[in-house]
Amino acid sequence: DQQVKQNSPSLSVQEGRISILNCDYTNSMFDYFLWYKKYPAEGPTFLISISSIKDKNEDGRFTVFLNKSAKHLSLHIVPSQPGDSAVYFCAASEVENDMRFGAGTRLTVKP
């Protein structure tokens, strides 16, 4: 059973606007959450993360929000750029060597 879910397979936004990617999880024991970005023919690369003791983490144009009561996190990209077009994976971890990934959301940023 998938413990991390990304219910939107794809998202399209206009350049300069905000992109919001969502992720839901079922395991309340997850204590660390990460976002990975993946371009075609490449492996995923780490983007941003957040600990369960925080509700927000910001890094430049990227902000991750965590709502533990709703078991929901989101990634905001402001402003969106065409180079942000990629597949974004949400991941969560409870114990060592066990990171659970969502199915990914394909973001397209149109010029």
Binding site: Q2, V4, Q6, P9, Y32, L34, Y36, A41, E42, G43, P44, T45, F46, I48, S49, F89, A91, S93, E96, N97, D98, M99, R100, F101, G102, A103, G104
Partner: protein, 116 residues
């Protein structure tokens, strides 16, 4: 630095054939991982290694074997390939096993395997 490399990039097998996927990293990482990615599903952990000479099962280990004879290499073997093993396989490495921003997993470019 090449980071994490995977060989081969593509492979087509017939049911019952065997093959080995090679992963190499030049970052002196202790921990290495093999994942598979299937449509509509996230990356799922097959096996991992916490150091040279060690291996352990992940979420979906059945039908696969692994070996870590050298610290920089992690091999994934399929002894008798099945169509259900058609997937994209990713190798990753990290300094330690705890997922943290300062301990990210570095991924290879993937191997696309098709089993007919």
């Amino acid at each position: 630095n090449a980071g994490v490399t995977q060989t081969p990039k593509f492979r087509v097998l017939k049911t019952g054939q065997s093959m080995t996927l090679l992963c190499a990293q030049d970052m002196n990482h202790e921990y290495m991982y093999w994942y598979r990615q299937d449509p509509g599903m996230g990356l799922r952990l097959i096996h991992y290694s916490v150091g040279e000479g060690t291996t352990a099962k992940g979420e979906v280990p059945d039908g696969y074997n692994v070996s870590r004879l050298k610290k920089q290499n992690f091999l994934l073997g399929l002894e008798s390939a099945a169509p259900s093993q058609t997937s994209v396989y990713f190798c990753a490495s990290s300094f330690s096993g705890r997922a943290r921003s300062y301990n990210e997993q570095f991924f290879g470019p993937g191997t696309r395997l098709t089993v007919l």
